[in-house]
């Protein structure tokens, strides 16, 4: 039998936001259906580089391993993707693994996506159902709205859409496609619609929807196939009506 197949992986290591970055190369034993998370686990099991130097396990985030928690987004061969669904057999080797570039680095491949959660709070990406007294039943959601809303509700806040957007960078505070799509989702819900104008007001604030320049990278990068460009267009229409016409027609 020929010698066992190897997988060559290069990982960008960085002990902290202020430490210097370096690349480490690993040679791992190939296994069927191997994905990038399995590579990182194998390294953790035996943290020795290709040239035999002892190192530390790589820090990274992951949880569900089925593209549902959104924590494992990273740059794999230069492209933003979910590590748990990136199959080794479909990747060119050596496989280069880096942290996302648009979020503050924590360590190695782990980044801090707090910006997205803060933005979700800014646009009130929820349905208010609690009051100081019983608010009773809400209006029914029509099947049509359910059908449109369901795909939008699949967002896992992975941040891929921000990572690939040329308008998301250190020069501005653009909230990115995911947040705009959530504005659409909660505005389309009959109870959520009661706060529609507040969400629109937030999304025409600093770093809001105006920063979108229609490069449309987001829709290609979204692992959940969310119709982001459609969401942005829909919210854009509500936005200019409120921003430019409300002083005329209320």
């Amino acid at each position: 039998m020929a010698e066992t197949k190897q997988v060559i992986v290069k990982v960008k290591r960085q002990a902290g936001p202020k430490e210097a970055a370096r690349w480490e190369e690993f040679s791992l034993k190939w296994r069927p259906s191997m994905n990038v998370i399995i590579c990182l686990r194998d390294i953790a099991e035996n943290p020795v580089t290709r040239d035999g130097k002892k190192t530390t396990p790589v820090t990274y985030d992951s949880n569900c391993l089925e593209e549902i928690c959104g924590s494992c987004a990273m740059l794999i061969n230069g492209k933003a993707r979910m590590a748990c669904s990136a199959l080794v057999d479909q990747l060119e080797q050596p496989i280069r693994i880096e942290p996302m570039s648009k979020f503050p680095l924590v360590r190695d491949l782990a980044v801090d996506r707090q910006f997205m959660f803060e933005s979700l709070k800014r646009v009130k990406a929820w349905i208010p159902i609690d009051g100081t007294y019983n608010l009773g039943e809400g209006p029914r959601v029509s099947p049509e709205v359910q059908e449109k809303g369901y795909p939008l509700s699949n967002c896992i806040t992975c941040g891929n859409c921000l990572e690939v957007c040329p308008q998301v960078n250190e020069h501005n505070q653009f909230v990115g496609a995911a947040i705009i799509s959530q504005v659409r989702l909660f505005n389309m819900h009959p109870t959520g619609a009661m706060n529609k104008s507040e969400r629109i007001a937030a999304i025409i604030g600093p770093g809001g929807i105006q920063e979108c320049a229609n490069a449309q990278n987001c829709v290609h990068a979204c692992p959940k196939g969310i119709p982001l460009t459609e969401s942005i267009a829909e919210v854009n229409r509500d936005a200019w009506k409120q921003a430019l016409l409300s002083w005329l027609v209320g």
């Binding site: 308008q167 320049a213 921003a243």
Partner: protein, 218 residues
């Protein structure tokens, strides 16, 4: 809800104004300009009549500044500001929309440089009384000719891609299907403007007047 909470950020208003000025008046002026200059395809006399008509409109300076120069300066200036605040990544993600994003910026800059030079040679140097002969003479200079061709193509591309952007960014084309249709419309405008622009250049350069057949025979 209080009315202050719905007030948009200044950056929102400026971005919307930038987007709008791209179509009106700047895009509309480009269309008018190509249309007027098509008169050269009929005859030199027709061209001179049409341009004299335009050169003698009442309130000419006010109209020029309010409807052409100032909006174009704003659109161009703010366009460069927008450009500087973006960070292109087309080498990592070479998708069509991403290419259009980059090209929109370069063609805008080329158009800006071209229009500035064009105004200088055809309006400033001629004191606003340029004639068919002036333009035809400029076209005989190979450098001028090249700049004319590049400027016309860049402006046409920028307007075509801009129409697509505009329709998407105001939510007028929202669904994937509608955005594809908007893209086809933009492409059609870009190609049509390019073709007409090049025909006009050929007309001046080679004294070629294909529509002279419309003229009553002498």
């Amino acid at each position: 809800m209080s009315s202050t909470a719905t007030r948009p950020d200044t950056s929102y208003l400026l971005r919307k104004l930038h987007s709008f000025t791209g179509i009106l008046p700047v895009g509309a002026f480009l269309a008018e300009h190509f249309w007027s200059n098509s008169a050269a395809l009929v005859s030199a006399e027709k061209y001179n009549t049409v341009s004299q008509e335009l050169q003698t409109i009442p309130f000419r300076l006010i109209v020029e500044w309010a409807a052409i120069f100032l909006p174009m300066l704003f659109h161009g200036g703010y366009g460069i500001y927008i450009w500087l605040r973006g960070k292109s990544n087309v080498s990592a993600y070479p998708w069509v929309g991403n290419w259009l994003y980059v090209t929109q910026r370069y063609t805008g800059l080329i158009a800006f440089a071209y229009i500035g030079w064009h105004l200088y040679t055809e309006r400033w140097l001629t004191h606003g009384r340029s004639t068919y002969a002036n333009v035809a003479a400029d076209m005989r200079n190979p450098w001028y000719l090249t700049f004319f061709v590049v400027g016309v193509l860049a402006s046409s591309f920028h307007l075509g891609a801009g129409i697509w952007n505009f329709l998407c960014k105001w939510g007028l084309a929202a669904t994937v299907k509608a955005q594809q249709a908007a893209g086809r419309l933009g492409a059609l405008v870009g190609v049509a403007f390019s073709v007409v622009g090049i025909l006009i250049i050929i007309s001046f350069r080679y004294d070629w007047h294909p529509f002279s057949v419309y003229l009553p025979s002498k």
